[in-house]
Symmetry: C2
Subunit: 156 residues, 2 copies
Amino acid sequence: MKQVNLKEQVKKLFEEHLEIHQQRKTKERFIILDEIYSRDDHFDAEGLYAALKSKKHQISRATVYNTLELLVECELVTKHQFGNNLARFEKSFGYRQHDHLICIDCNKVLEFCDPRIHQISTRMGELLHFNIAHHSLILYGKCNGCEVKEQLKGSR
Amino acid sequence: MKQVNLKEQVKKLFEEHLEIHQQRKTKERFIILDEIYSRDDHFDAEGLYAALKSKKHQISRATVYNTLELLVECELVTKHQFGNNLARFEKSFGYRQHDHLICIDCNKVLEFCDPRIHQISTRMGELLHFNIAHHSLILYGKCNGCEVKEQLKGSR
DNA sequence: GTGCATGCAAATCCTTTGCAGTGAT
DNA sequence: ATCACTGCAAAGGATTTGCATGCAC
């Protein structure tokens, strides 16, 4: 039942955020939030739109973009730019802060944590007089599978 | 005369790269390389195109994009995605590897170095069986100036 | 009822592509 | 002389915007 509780929690948080900012609690917004917290990947706006459509929800692209922005603002969703110019998103409530590792061949995304990143962030903020809000660390490389595939191709 | 030597060095490196890959040494390519190594900022493709135009060089956008890609391939230029979906570039030969700190209000870019990032990169590569090629670490925050400005606005 | 949010389509921004002409090899 | 590279303009993909309609308040 952990899933259910998580969804209820984020829904409550979203409602609070909307109330505080005097924004409306439309059904579209909650359908989108629910869909995002049903997924477990790094999706893009178009993919989310398609998923909603396939579930017979008539929600426009504009609303998808609009709601994603709202959810990023209230920190229930995180936005990433993984190299290509296509924004990717992931749910962010209830998960430990983490960073990403991406395969430059197959685009597979892995996650990892390292406390040193937070240390670096804090230290550099102090040193350079910046009030750090968040960060993005992406390691680009080739995953084992793609590495092997390439070697096979090379030796042909 | 350090500048001149640097420009000569990168020109030589670019020529070698072109020869090895059997690509042509066109004057446009060298004009673009020279312009990039005359700058000292994080520019975008359009800005580079505009700079060339203002210097009376008739170089098309297509060639600018094409050459940037070439220069990224031979590692004379680095490409970044700083949040928004607009690629930014900087010269990368002769400079220590570094990461970036960006003001989310005024877009100011600062640079910093921390050896721990390389350690993290190596460690995670081993742990997750990735052959890491490069990384991107961006710290987002507010610079002192913007921070002060905001406080003034708040207390009005 | 008021006016914010939606849906739709058009507009915009950045980047890539197709193609005819040019110039490096 | 060949054919990779260029310039141009059109296409493309992601995102934003304008406006009429709908619905949360």
